[in-house]
Symmetry: C2
Subunit: 241 residues, 2 copies
DNA sequence: CAGGCGCTGATGTATATACAAGTATAGGCA
DNA sequence: TGCCTATACTTGTATATACATCAGCGCCTG
């Protein structure tokens, strides 16, 4: 073996089919929603078995390049919007990974009655008891995030007994309830006076407001409002297509 | 929810194997780096063929739950960090999909000399010519995004000839250069006077500043600074784990 | 004793086959 | 005309089999 000098292509055969399909799409020959040859057609065309052709289609589907539907066929997916993915890490882990000291200041930790909005997000009825916490996360003593959180008591029963000075509610929830879903929104706000004071910035300073609703298979777990001082914090992301 | 009591189980057989493995991991019976039974063992244990057991292992590997290596075996992966993903869509497509009118106001479209920072991001030398554009994207006539962009002339030669009143630079670049990578950061700023005027907001109002560097296989394509009025715009994301 | 050889068992690739399930269409019957 | 069914084609699941490739181990030879 290894008699093929250059371009020794130990690549599997399904890779050739994937490359072929991607080439057609990138050349523009196959626009979005164009129908891709069926598994049997590709198998015959490339002289492979149906299972091998199927693997190429399956992997491209998982990559978001194709869309398949049983009985109909395989189609080119919409050109993906110049989208990017943004990863938001746990704030305490982030601070620790920089080699800085993490400190959580607990401003409030209580049981309260759910407002209509909170009840809706957590799948409860308005007025039901929910856990309500407000804390400030600090990096080397400098406030980096103000966090207000409403948590479903059924899914995190001993929330109020936690010590959030060293571990975050987010980490606790992640530990007791495997999360399966998260809805996040990010916007910019001018800091209100009280939050500004707690973040040790001036009222009106620009802040990132991240709102996140997390849920597990058992239902809504938690609703969080996270405020970051704009001058001290930035969300980052690296994405490869 | 819960419309399926227990009877209808049209679930494929590999799903049972996946569930079994996940259960062992979540129970703590199989810690990180624990060795998972081999394909043949699982096949015998569940009374399925090796290919079916293999599928369960393959899918869990793709999901990041397991790690496999040829000749060694399959192992439980390290617990995944509590990360989440945020998708950012193209602004014109976003506006159109709401059924609103998109309008692009071109404030500047020129060739300029690259600053040191721009040159670094695009893989050029400082002072090289780059395309420089500033525009404001409007939704039904209301400014929604201020965009300043530096583009590599080698990869988008007829950038200056484009009509960005109806199609965005982002869409043009996506068309002529398949992007493979993007680095994005999001922060909050107080609007400067000039940008505030162009966005028709007050100076000092909180804004989202999104900075994005995109690159293709051929190198750095473009560097963009996107400013959104905080009161009018929000980034959203839905993530499933 | 060192090095190599082959064995075993693991994952990776590929094939042929079978049946299940969803979709669209052509044709027939009332 | 309107509805229903049979059929063909598609993707989805599952199996049995074969060979390739890689890592680890032990034995055996030089």
């Amino acid at each position: 073996m290894s008699q093929l000098p250059a371009s020794t292509t130990p690549q599997p055969r399904y890779a050739a089919i994937k490359a072929f399909i991607c080439a057609q799409i990138e050349n523009g020959d196959w626009p979005a929603n164009h129908r891709v040859p069926s598994e049997n057609q590709l198998a015959e065309q490339f002289g492979v078995s149906r299972m091998t052709a199927r693997r190429a289609l399956t992997e491209l589907t998982e990559a978001g390049v194709l869309i398949r539907s049983q009985g109909l066929g395989t189609f080119v997916a919409e050109a993906r919007p110049s989208g990017s993915l943004l990863e938001v890490r746990d704030i305490a882990e982030e601070i620790s990974s920089r080699g800085h000291d993490y400190e959580g200041r607990v401003l409030l930790l209580e049981q309260a009655a759910a407002s209509e909005q909170v009840a809706l997000a957590l799948g409860l009825s308005a007025g039901s008891p929910v856990f309500h916490s407000i804390l400030v996360h600090c990096d080397n003593g400098v406030p980096l995030q103000w966090e207000e959180r409403f948590t479903n008591p059924a899914l995190a029963p001993d929330y109020l007994q936690q010590d959030f000075r060293s571990s975050t509610p987010s980490a606790y929830l992640h530990r007791v309830q495997p999360l399966t879903e998260a809805d996040t929104s990010v916007e910019a706000i001018n800091a209100e006076a009280d939050i500004a004071a707690q973040l040790e910035i001036s009222a009106g300073d620009a802040c990132l407001l991240v709102q996140r609703r997390t849920s597990s298979g058992s239902g809504g777990v938690s609703l969080a409002r996270l405020v970051h001082p704009g001058k001290r914090y930035r969300l980052g992301a690296q994405l490869k297509f």
